[in-house]
Structure formats: structure tokens, C-alpha cells
Symmetry: C2
């Protein structure tokens, strides 16, 4: 197990894409790679992890081990599954997206300070006094964010004082932001090629639970002018950053306007619905983009798609519940990531498509309830 | 390469399905297995073949090597990608479908003699005189078939005399059949669980080229009563044979009636359209059936789907043409099997879905023409 099995040369001619990161995004990217005849090679944390189970040409290695990564990439096209890869390594392997693009997704202070987009009111604070002063200027309550390394609700907190910050921040800057009184959270996914060609999927609505994406509805139930604003904001960000691959721009809808919350430069949880719900999935699109191939049709194939994450389960293995889910509803599309259950961990998702939004949403949540063992 | 890497136990709880056969069917089954969190293990002819490239837990072995196969299966649920596996091995590993079911797909004489279905007029002949007598009774021209082992047009010939048979038949029986003056060829796919639950996809039309499936249109443009007859014939065959998994019944439409041509007990070329065109693909369905899980919704997701096979190419690697195909049509779904080009060999397929049949068909054929290097 775990020995290097790439590069036998037996598949000369196969487009090769290397991906750093062994989670469910690389796993789902492999479904698209198999169909396209693309040889996906993954640098994974664990040989039998989510991606290692699914990717024939996988190799164990750490995302900060430059020597291993350079040997693994070996001059091929390389992309990343997450933002937590050192800048010097990204430059050494000429990653897609590039280090210069990824910094906007890696560092929330850079994103706020440099990105030409609508931002919430924000402050950079490095001392208790500065943090408390920022909170006061923001009305007594604010959102504190760790500038680098946060994810899935980690490194984000609602604070009224520096004492509310649940991580060790002393010595580092903290991003202190306005707590936006949003009406809705939406996400705009686009994909961009090195040539500059760009496509956008329909805007979606996302609902968080404990700071983690829980439900996504495509399309977002908003007016057309808001869709156009969202697409324009994402397109401007894609051009400014020069991103290659999928870009997710998570935004707040507040009093009919849009404010940028977060960025991700990779396939994103708010795009999982595209596997069944769009002509071209975000995973196929990401491969096409990093290979600089023409981008695919992003239109929805059904009036409504709802995706719900499986974030925990009372079952030792939720796959035991496949039978019960399908006894109740044979049309639910289930995606399991081959991960062990841990509270708040993304271990799978379901997608339902159809013509009646209430029905589609109810079916997706019923399936998740069963997989959760409720 | 090629060492056994299954059964680490690290994925305890993962449903396991073993498949014998390393071609594109196992490869496409892996796309579905990844999504469901099913651990697919493949016994492949070549470690870097179509399935070996895509399946992490693959092992090299011959489909007639009983000791290797028994060790490979190791008591897990096992299915097969083709019919050419010795009967004693199928029984030893308790395959799904079973040896008793598969014989109807393996042996065309058994199928003709035992299957409760509409057959063409046929004769079993073992001598030159018997063959010529059968041809004469059938009007001077007939179809000769090798009872076992034929595929993709091999072992099938139009004959006017025993001297027209292109394979060595002396000492073996030959199936001599009426050359049915058909108006159309159709294929009915159904799936059946051990429990007996059965589902049917929409009837499709298939067009052959040199005896090989070339184009599939879903749904078949035929009257509803013919659809119902086709579904009833396939259901009766599924019940009579006790098949588990996907069953494909290829039939001729002649003067408004149906005559059974061939059977396959596995995912079938005439079902590839279901990957994009149906709520549940034949590959996911086959896994659900062999695992005795509730079967999925078989409804089409678009008014029309057309699949066209890539059977040859002037290009050394048709993947070089992905750019040209997508420059012309970003919505074509391409499936490449990771195989080298050989005339008449199935190396990939494309599927297009939409609302206008002429447009959908034209787009699919245009994509194939580009992949063929024409």
C-alpha cells in the first residue's frame, strides 16, 4: 500500500492532472477524470483515505513537504484541493490556480485589502485594545476571523470583546468584521481557463449550520438583477486574481445588495449539486480549466436542485442506511466520501432534482435524516 | 504494480463488490462505486488497462483462473463484466448473476431452446449437410452464430452455405437462424434484485455498424404498446432466468412485433446513455442490484438522449481531440475508456441530451466525427 505507482508510461497520451490533497474533492474529481480519460494523480494524507480509496495513482505525502511534492508533480499540471499549501511550494510547482491567485483565498486580510469587490466594514487588529476598539466601532458585536488557515467554521467567531476569541491570536493579526445582518447567503461559482475564458453556473443559495455549509438550493430564489450582480462580482474577482479552475464567491444578500464573505479557488461544497444538476459538473469543469480545455455548458438540467450535507451520524457507518433511504425514495442521489463519522465532519451529501422546490427539499432532508440515524 | 492491495480492513463497513473483467464496464462501474462509497475490487487482465487505471483495488488475473479468482473474491459479493467465465468458477464464487442465469447469455442454443420469449426460426446444425438444409428451409439465406463466445459481431455471419461460415465450426454445433427482415433494433434494459424487485428503463433504439452497437436513441421512437410488449418480454426473461443485476434484451422490431435477438446480463452498451440521461445509471443500478439494495428511479431526465460509440480513430490518441470537440460544442459528454485505438474496438462514447432529437443526434455524431479524426 502507498507505494508510488504513477508514471508507468503505459498510458502515454493520457492527459495528467496532479492534485494535492486527499479529501472528498479529489475523490469526486476522480469520477470526472475516469470519464474523460484523464489520469488523476493525488498526493494524499492517508493511503486509504477519502481520495486514496478512489484514485489508482495516489501517493502519501504532506501538503507542506516540498521535496515530496516536487517529485510527485514531476512537471505535470497540478492543482490543489485546499488553500493550506506553502507559497514557495505553489510557485515551485507552478500550480493552477497560481500562488498569486490563491493568496486571495488563503489570506482574508489580503482579500479584504486588495480585492475589487463589495466588502463588509472591516479592521485589522493585533492587540486587545485594537480588537475591542474595532468591535466598538462596529456597534459592540463583530465577527473575528483568523486571516489564514480557517475552514468550516473554524477560525471564525462572533465576539463582543477580544476575550471571546476562541483561538490563540496573541502575536498575530485578527480580522474584525461587521456582523452583516444578511437576509440570505448565496454562492456564485465560475470557472476560468488560463486563456481567460470564463463560465458561470446559476447562482445558488446556501444555508449554514454551525458555520458549515448544510443546504444548497439551485437556483437561488432571488431577482434576476441580483443574479447579474453576483455573476459580475465573481467575474471581476476571477479576472483580478487570474484564477485558473473553479472559483466560489460566497456572498451575503443584505437589503437587496451583495457583500463578499469568503472565496475558494477549487471545487466547492456549494457546487456539489452540479454533479446531477448541471450539464457540466464543477469537477469536470475544474479539470477542463486546469488543462486549458474549452469550458463546459453550465446550465441546470432540472428546474430545482437541492443538496444537503451529511455532517454527522448516530450510525457507525451511514452506508448501512442506504437501504432505508432508497426504500423510502429510490431517486435520491447519495454521495459518500469513505470517511469515518465525526461531529461536524463532512462525510457525504445527497442531491435531489425536480420541478417542485418544496418536494425536492423535503426529499433531500428526509434522506439526510435517515443517514444521520435520526 | 499489480500486487494485491485489497482488504486492508481500513474501510470496515464499506460495501464491497468484486468484479471479474477489466474493461470499460468495470471502469464506468467505478464512477458509480466512488459516489456510493462502495469499494469496487476488479480482477483485471492488465494492471494499466481500462479498469486497472481507474480502480484502486484491482488485481491482475485471468477470468478462467479458478484459484486466483477464489482468492480474489474471498467470500465477498462478486459480479462479472462479461459472459466468458467457466461455469464451475461462477458456481464456486456464487456470482451475481448466478451460473444458472448466465447460461442463457453464454449459450445461444440454450437461450433459443429454453427461453420463454419470441424467437426467430432457428436450427441447431453440426454438419455441412445440416447447415445447408437449414439455410434452404430458411429461404436460401440465414444467420449463422457460434453458440458460445461470440461478441461484437464476432461469431455471427450471413450465410448462403456452410462454406460462408468464417470460423472453424467443424466438430461444434452452429446456430442457424432466420435472417429477420427487421424494421428497427431495440433494447430493453431492466434490473433485478435477489429479492425479485425489478425496474425497467425506457426502451431504446440501437443502430449497429458492422455488427457492433454504434448509435443508441432513448427513448425508442415506437408506439406505446410496443414499449409495453418489450418491457413485458424483458420482465418475463428476468424472472425465468433469475438474473441479478442489469439485463439487456436486444430485440428486432418486425412488422410491429418483437423478436429476441441477444441477451446480456451486465451493464450493456445500449445503457450507457443512462449515465447522463436517466436518474439512475445502469452502473449504479447494477451495484444496487448485486448488493440487494432498493433499485433506483429509471426515468429519463431529458426528452431525448443519443449515445454514439467511438469505434476507431485516425488519431493516435483521440483524447487529443477533446479540445476540438468542446470548441464546437461545450455540452457534449465524452467518455474515454483509456484504451489504445484499434479498428472496431470500443474506445469511448459520447452522449448528448436535449429536447430536439435531430439536433441531439447531429451533435453526438459531429463529436464522434471529430474524435475519429475525420
Amino acid at each position: 500500500m502507498g507505494q508510488k505507482v504513477v508514471g508507468t508510461g503505459a498510458r502515454a497520451g493520457a492527459p495528467v492532472v496532479c492534485v494535492i490533497g486527499g479529501g472528498q474533492l479529489a475523490r469526486m474529481m476522480q469520477e470526472a477524470a475516469i470519464a474523460l480519460g484523464v489520469e488523476l494523480r493525488a498526493l494524499v494524507e492517508a493511503d486509504d483515505g477519502s481520495a486514496g480509496q478512489a484514485i489508482r495513482y495516489s501517493q502519501v505525502g504532506a501538503a507542506d513537504d516540498r521535496a515530496t511534492i516536487e517529485e510527485f508533480v514531476d512537471g505535470e499540471i497540478v492543482t490543489v484541493e485546499h488553500e493550506h499549501i506553502p507559497d514557495d511550494i505553489l510557485r515551485a510547482i507552478d500550480s493552477r490556480p497560481s500562488a498569486d491567485a490563491l493568496v486571495f483565498a488563503q489570506d482574508k486580510l489580503v482579500m479584504r485589502a486588495s480585492l475589487d469587490a463589495p466588502h463588509p466594514t472591516w479592521y485589522e487588529a493585533a492587540t486587545a485594545d485594537d480588537i475591542d476598539a474595532a468591535v466598538e466601532r462596529l456597534g459592540g458585536v463583530a465577527i473575528a476571523k483568523v486571516p489564514r488557515g480557517g475552514y468550516d467554521g473554524k477560525g471564525v467567531a462572533v465576539i463582543r470583546s477580544h476575550t471571546d476569541i476562541p483561538w490563540t491570536w496573541e502575536g498575530d493579526s485578527v480580522l474584525v468584521e461587521e456582523k452583516v445582518p444578511f437576509d440570505m447567503e448565496v454562492s456564485q461559482l465560475v470557472a476560468r481557463r488560463p486563456s481567460g475564458e470564463m463560465v458561470a453556473w446559476p447562482l445558488v443559495r446556501s444555508v449554514q449550520r454551525d458555520g458549515i455549509c448544510f443546504e444548497v438550493t439551485a437556483p437561488a430564489p432571488v431577482p434576476d438583477d441580483l443574479r447579474e450582480q453576483a455573476a459580475a462580482i465573481a467575474a471581476r474577482i476571477a479576472d483580478q486574481t487570474g484564477v485558473v479552475g473553479v472559483l466560489a464567491v460566497e456572498m451575503f444578500v443584505v437589503r437587496g445588495a451583495l457583500i463578499v464573505n469568503e472565496l475558494a479557488m477549487r471545487p466547492h461544497n456549494t457546487g456539489h449539486w452540479t454533479i446531477e444538476g448541471a450539464v457540466t459538473s464543477q469537477f469536470e469543469q475544474h479539470l477542463r480549466a486546469v488543462l486549458d480545455l474549452p469550458l463546459g455548458d453550465t446550465r441546470a438540467v432540472a428546474p430545482w436542485s437541492v443538496m444537503v450535507n451529511l455532517l454527522d451520524s448516530a450510525l457507525s457507518d451511514p452506508r448501512e442506511a442506504l437501504r432505508d433511504v432508497w426504500e423510502a425514495d429510490p431517486g435520491v442521489k447519495i454521495h459518500m466520501y469513505g470517511k469515518e463519522v465525526r461531529p461536524g465532519r463532512k462525510i457525504g451529501h445527497v442531491t435531489v432534482t425536480g420541478t417542485d422546490l418544496d418536494d425536492v427539499r423535503a426529499r433531500a432532508h428526509a434522506a439526510i435524516a435517515t443517514l444521520e440515524g435520526r
